[in-house]
């Protein structure tokens, strides 16, 4: 029997790709751009992502679970598709390496101020290589195991019940914010990642449940984000939230157990698992795309090559400010891609169907 990714794997994989370091600053973005009761924006953004996933669902239904590359190859000549695939490869690998670098930078900021980012990033990339060379089925299984290491952290939110106050939220909705639309695009980065599921399509179990499990994954992400952004709004005052760089980290730092304090260093390390999966999936998708250009290349060598080149590129932005700026622009492109690409595929599939009908006639 051929291996397949089943519904539960897909759900947790989507959840793990989506959650990442952006979650740390999400509450600040919500406060800055949306102002009072900005937590509502999380639900709206989750809804937008869900609409996007519906588009992907339409693509899946129309092509019957076929690979997106096969769909493109049917209608477009190779000299058009090759540059597109190359752009995909470069872009996805770039996002992957920057997301990884961002995690390393924050890790260094809070835990290892004297260690070199270069070294930490190298160790991190090594893990990514190990993960990606094992193939998509094992990435899926790893995501399932890793998600258990992340999900329990939701219960930590109860630790804040003492300092949580509904009065702090004020009855005003979306006041004292600015640039709401731009902010929404910025914040959407926290949800991005589910579009990679387009590349996973041919490896998944071919049932109608497929798209439902992607939606469940997105719902899990939305609810996780929602719960801690909501708590942040009752825990911090609005103006305080606006100046906190990583409110989630500050909240974790506030947890005090009878035997241990300053838990954030420990808890932040757990995020490593979701970041490894996120980066792994970007690199894997980049490889999928590159494979179309070089069909005969050895897959493992390709992984090592892509990770190595992206590692070299990730050395370039060396401050957290630069890095977050680069990431911001990269995710703008990613958001455009996640809406544009499915629409483009739907268009291609419609043209193909019409010509099929004509040919039969």
């Amino acid at each position: 029997m051929k291996e397949r990714l089943y519904a539960s794997h897909i759900t947790l994989l989507v959840f793990m790709i989506q959650t990442g370091v952006t979650a740390l600053s999400l509450a600040r973005s919500a406060a800055m751009y949306f102002g009072t009761n900005g937590w509502i924006s999380i639900l709206i953004l989750g809804g937008v992502a869900s609409v996007n996933i519906m588009l992907i669902g339409i693509v899946n239904r129309m092509c019957g679970g076929e690979s997106v590359f096969a769909v493109m190859a049917k209608s477009l000549p190779r000299f058009v598709t090759i540059p597109i695939y190359l752009v995909f490869t470069v872009y996805l690998a770039l996002i992957g390496c920057m997301v990884g670098k961002q995690y390393i930078h924050i890790f260094q900021l809070i835990a290892f101020p004297t260690a070199s980012t270069f070294m930490l990033k190298a160790c991190f990339d090594l893990m990514v290589i190990f993960l990606v060379t094992k193939g998509i089925y094992n990435i899926g299984k790893a995501a399932t195991v890793f998600s258990i290491l992340i999900l329990w952290m939701v219960f930590l939110l109860f630790a804040f019940s003492n300092d949580f106050e509904f009065d702090r939220m004020s009855p005003f909705v979306f006041k004292q914010g600015h640039h709401m639309l731009r902010g929404a695009v910025d914040m959407f980065a926290a949800f991005a990642g589910y579009e990679l599921i387009l590349f996973v399509m041919p490896y998944a179990d071919k049932s109608k449940k497929w798209i439902r499990s992607v939606q469940t994954g997105n719902l899990m992400t939305t609810l996780t984000y929602f719960s801690f952004v909501f708590i942040s709004f009752g825990f911090f005052s609005l103006d305080q939230l606006k100046i906190m760089l990583y409110p989630l980290l500050d909240m974790l730092a506030y947890i005090q157990l009878p035997f241990v304090e300053r838990l954030e260093n420990l808890l932040f390390s757990f995020l490593l698992f979701t970041v490894v999966i996120t980066v792994g999936m970007y690199i894997w998708s980049a490889c999928e795309s590159a494979q179309q250009v070089f069909p005969k290349a050895n897959r493992n060598v390709m992984v090592v090559f892509i990770v190595f080149v992206s590692f070299l590129i990730s050395i370039l932005p060396d401050t957290l400010f630069q890095l977050e700026l680069v990431l911001k622009y990269l995710t703008y492109g990613e958001t455009a891609f996640s809406f544009g690409f499915p629409l483009f595929l739907i268009l291609l599939l419609m043209i193909q169907k019409r010509s099929e009908v004509k040919a039969r006639a």
């Binding site: 090594l126 190990f130 911090f236 005052s237």
Partner: protein
């Protein structure tokens, strides 16, 4: 064959990675005996209005058993400049990860402590739970004092605050809470005040802030009442002097718990009436009055006496705050939450606040009168 080569290459990378990262650790290793662990930071103003920083440092002796406190101080413009200057005075490297308490003299607090707090929040090695304490007098003098029963002054003060906070005698105020209240619309921060008294340190009351500036203090009697207005109050004790017409003597209520609710109404002339409804429950632990405790009707008399006492005291407390124009209870927040956004923005709360009429309505319930009813007087006394 190719796979084998790749495997070897990857293993080589792993070994290299481990070796190189190990050397990275060696550079940043920290040996406890070589560290000066900063426990308390104190800020004074000297005669030229210059910031004067004192650090109480805990030195772990060789062998691990003895712990000594060392005090170093310097003049500086900011806390971080002080750290550099202070490090010149010690043979060990100063680390901030274990700071528990920061102390500010009233003079420093009067000038505003926003910048000092900001730097504490900025440093990721400093916990958001670092306490904020105001010292009535000189911080340096307090930290330098030797208290015979407590060899380590900085830890003594820290434990004192911790215990009083657990018993709800003082509100817990740490860097996170101070920053939160300072940045919030319609509430001002507070901080406990301590002072040296003979051979010990005592809680001297509650420091009131307007924005980040100290404007005055409440006497320690108000500590518990303030806690009741701020949040849910659990497991406290309160001593009440009943000096109403029918009642005399005093009551000590134990295991006190309270719930609060605010109500805001508008006055005809545009001002506000803020009402605070308090539900107080407790057990009688001590009673020195004449009302017999075995009759539910008479218990109600005591309950009413307690209610009148608490509401009178709280109203007085808010009046003191209004005089100082510091909204520490957070009446502004209550008013804000009952207005539309446009109305709130139009309102100049700082101007309106001193004119707000505040009422406190207390409902007391006595759960029990302890293990006995009353010891009757002997017949010979009758």
């Amino acid at each position: 064959m190719r796979d084998l080569q790749l495997k070897r290459f990857v293993w080589l990378l792993v070994i290299l990675g481990v070796v190189v990262s190990q050397t990275g650790c060696a550079r940043s290793q920290r040996i406890l005996e070589k560290l000066a662990i900063n426990h308390t930071l104190g800020y004074d103003l000297d005669d030229d209005k210059q910031l004067y920083v004192t650090a109480a440092i805990i030195n772990q002796g060789e062998g691990g058993s003895e712990v000594k406190q060392e005090l170093i101080s310097t003049e500086a413009d900011s806390s971080k400049e002080a750290k550099i200057k202070l490090s010149r005075q010690t043979s060990r490297s100063i680390v901030n990860g274990q700071i528990r308490n920061t102390m500010y003299s009233i003079d420093v607090a009067r000038e505003g402590i926003r910048k000092l707090i900001e730097n504490l929040v900025r440093d990721p090695s400093i916990s958001p739970r670092v306490k904020i304490t105001i010292v009535n007098g000189s911080v340096k003098e307090l930290l330098e004092s030797k208290f015979p029963d407590h060899p380590n002054t900085s830890q003594y003060v820290d434990h004192l605050l911790q215990k009083n906070w657990k018993n709800q005698n003082i509100p817990q105020v740490n860097v996170y809470q101070f920053a939160r209240d300072y940045l919030e619309d319609g509430v001002d921060p507070v901080a406990p005040v301590v002072r040296k008294k003979g051979d010990s340190v005592v809680v001297d009351g509650l420091g009131l802030f307007r924005d980040d500036k100290y404007v005055g203090k409440l006497s320690p009697d108000y500590n518990m009442l303030f806690a009741m207005t701020r949040g849910k109050y659990r497991q406290g004790e309160i001593y009440i002097k009943l000096d109403q017409e029918k009642l005399d003597g005093s009551v000590m209520l134990g295991t006190v718990s309270s719930d609060k609710k605010f109500n805001v109404r508008r006055k005809r002339n545009g001002g506000f009436i803020v009402e605070l409804f308090l539900q107080v429950k407790g057990d009688i632990m001590e009673y020195s009055g004449k009302v017999p405790l075995d009759n539910p009707k008479d218990i109600r008399v005591i309950e009413n006496g307690i209610s009148a006492y608490i509401s009178g005291k709280i109203e007085k407390m808010v009046n003191i705050m209004q005089e100082k124009r510091s909204d520490n209870v957070g009446l502004g927040k209550q008013v804000r939450n009952r207005l539309s956004y446009a109305e709130w923005k139009r309102l100049n709360w700082e101007k309106v606040y001193p004119e707000v009429t505040f009422r406190c309505i207390v409902h007391t319930k006595i759960k029990s009168s302890g293990e006995i009813l009353e010891i009757p007087p002997q017949s010979s006394e009758k």
